[in-house]
């Protein structure tokens, strides 16, 4: 076995261990902040797996989008609303836990069964395109995958308009469910100086 192959195997085992343990930590840890940071670690390790597969562009995009944008936003949101509040006790928590565990285990066994019964087509390692993959991805995005690509941008546009409507209370100044006017006094928008008392 050559040094390169050994290094790859070591990297792969470390990365997959981090992905599995990290993902378990994300759902099992009590502290939501730790879960969010662990999620970032899981995303990073997945990017490492892409690197092992010679997909460096996908790996960098994974880091940029999932770690740099999605995970930072999650952490940001958690830190802005991090109230020290005990969760309400849920009724018959034990039976709920048993049911959810059995569902998860069934799903896992199904996936393992799929993994062993299916014949996976493995690409020829000598035919990998490596650095050229960036160009290939671009070509595919603007030819046969053009529609999904454009639809994704429409989805993002919808999310952005929704966020703007929610943030700008002067457009929608009525609570939809209650019909009451929504508090419009945003501190940032106050034209009067805040520290001087009005007469």
């Amino acid at each position: 076995m050559s040094i390169a192959v050994t290094t790859q195997i070591i990297c792969f085992s470390i990365l997959s261990l981090v992905v599995i343990v990290g993902a378990l930590g994300v759902i099992l840890l009590e502290s939501i902040v730790y879960s969010a940071f662990l999620l970032g670690g899981v995303f990073m390790s997945v990017a490492g797996l892409y690197l092992l597969l010679n997909a460096s562009f996908v790996a960098a995009a994974q880091v940029l989008v999932y770690v740099g944008a999605v995970n930072v936003l999650i952490i940001f949101a958690i830190m802005l609303v991090n109230k020290k509040e005990d969760l309400k006790p849920i009724d018959n928590i034990k039976s709920r836990r048993i049911i959810s565990t059995s569902i998860c285990l069934t799903l896992l066994s199904l996936l393992i069964r799929v993994d062993f019964s299916n014949v996976w087509s493995v690409a020829d390692p000598n035919a990998s395109i490596g650095e050229e993959s960036t160009i290939r991805i671009g070509e595919h995005l603007f030819s046969d995958y053009l529609l999904p690509f454009e639809v994704a941008s429409v989805l993002l546009l919808m999310a952005m308009i929704g966020a703007i409507v929610l943030a700008r209370r002067d457009v929608m100044n009525e609570d939809i469910s209650t019909g009451l006017p929504v508090d419009q006094e945003l501190i940032e928008k106050a034209s009067e100086p805040l520290l001087i008392k009005k007469n």
């Binding site: 050559s2 040094i3 390169a4 902040v33 940071f37 970032g40 990073m44 460096s56 562009f57 960098a60 995009a61 880091v63 940029l64 770690v67 740099g68 944008a69 995970n71 930072v72 952490i75 940001f76 830190m79 802005l80 490596g130 650095e131 050229e132 960036t134 940032e188």
Partner: protein, 372 residues
């Protein structure tokens, strides 16, 4: 384009001469450029700290450090040693694990980004195909470290500083990436080597700064904002936030933040010189010099001369930009957080989008000047 000196190839040939296999020679070679770049980054930080102290003193009509070595050149080393032996304090109510991991997460991506900084045709750690994109994606990890240390300090100033740092670096990353994209569009490649080679045709006249003046200014502003240099140093605004996310840090952990921010500054300056100022290129093309000297371009003398000239030019350009950054820091007032976000989202983002559109149009209209 000539291939220049290939140190890795020569090194491997020497080791093979001792009867080692090429694989083992490669493994022995691998850590050498990494160590070299790490050492040069740290030395670069020491130089920058000294420059910062001297230039700030000159800007304020003081003398600055003068007793430690000639002109105070040993002052940064003294500072570093002081931080090294200081007591490492973790506040009692802080989250000690996240408190330690924060500074590491800030420093490591910055150092990793040095992977793609070329000092010559073959003088870089690795010519990865995704080149400049690697730097953009690595620099997006930093805010997580800042948020982590801000949260773990258990201090309202730290948390506010961390949140501000994350908001700032997310908003300035977009115009930064768009202005890089305009350069990439002209080069047809993400690799830093190709970006420099594309600017090497006619010396100073073919540098990207003439073709991308708007992109150059946007990139420089955004790079300063990403480094949290003074016009944009809101995350650690002393008057409001004590020291932002670094408030509770002392000793080596503080030094990691300090090191990270200075390495990032030098890295940004290097990348500006690579993207817009012709990288290792001399204002007069080396081919013309070799013709005047009547030596073939592949002559060993010319090769060594070109390589050393390349390193000197890259460092010189980068330190010129560092000098401008230091002058800016000591002469401009700090912007407010709403002004900062306004500048980023309402000014730089539309301008950089327009710059991208115009670059694409010019590339199609004049392919010989804007890279066909």
């Amino acid at each position: 384009m000539n291939s220049g000196i290939d140190l890795e190839y020569s090194f491997n040939e020497i080791l093979k001469g001792f009867g080692l296999s090429s694989e083992i020679a490669h493994v022995i070679w691998l850590p050498l450029p990494m160590l070299l770049v790490l050492v040069s980054a740290v030395v670069g930080v020491l130089v920058t700290v000294w420059l910062e102290r001297k230039i700030s003193a000159a800007a304020q009509q003081r003398i600055g450090p003068e007793y430690a070595g000639a002109l105070g050149v040993l002052q940064p080393i003294a500072d570093g040693l002081k931080l090294l032996v200081k007591e490492d304090i973790i506040p009692a109510k802080a989250d000690s694990f996240l408190f330690t991991a924060g500074p590491i997460l800030v420093l490591v991506p910055v150092i990793l980004s040095w992977l793609i900084v070329p000092f010559g045709q073959n003088l870089l750690i690795s010519n990865v195909g995704i080149g400049i994109f690697l730097w953009i994606s690595l620099s997006s990890i930093q805010p997580i470290g800042l948020l982590m240390s801000g949260y773990a300090s258990n201090n309202k100033y730290s948390l506010l500083g961390g949140l501000r740092a994350a908001a700032q670096s997310i908003s300035y990353e977009i115009p930064l990436a768009l202005s890089v994209l305009a350069v990439v569009l002209m080069t047809n490649s993400l690799s830093t080597i190709d970006i420099v080679n594309q600017q090497s045709g006619a010396g100073i006249l073919s540098w990207n700064i003439w073709r991308q003046p708007v992109g150059f200014i946007i990139f420089w502003i955004c790079a300063l904002a990403e480094c949290e240099r003074l016009p944009f140093d809101l995350p650690e605004a002393e008057e409001e936030l004590v020291a932002g996310y670094q408030t509770e840090y002392a000793g080596m952990k503080f030094a990691l933040f300090y090191l990270g921010s200075y390495i990032n500054l030098i890295l940004s300056a290097l990348l500006v010189s690579i993207l817009y100022l012709g990288g290792w290129g001399f204002p007069i093309p080396v081919e013309i010099i070799s013709k005047v000297l009547n030596l073939p371009i592949n002559a060993p003398v010319i090769q060594v001369f070109t390589a050393s000239l390349g390193i000197i030019m890259t460092v010189l350009k980068a330190y010129l930009l560092v000098f401008i950054a230091i002058l800016l820091r000591w002469t401009t007032p700090r912007v407010r957080i709403d002004q900062l976000l306004d500048l980023g989202w309402k000014f730089l983002l539309p301008i950089s989008l327009a710059n991208l559109l115009i670059t694409a149009g010019l590339k199609l209209a004049f392919p010989q000047f804007f890279g066909g």
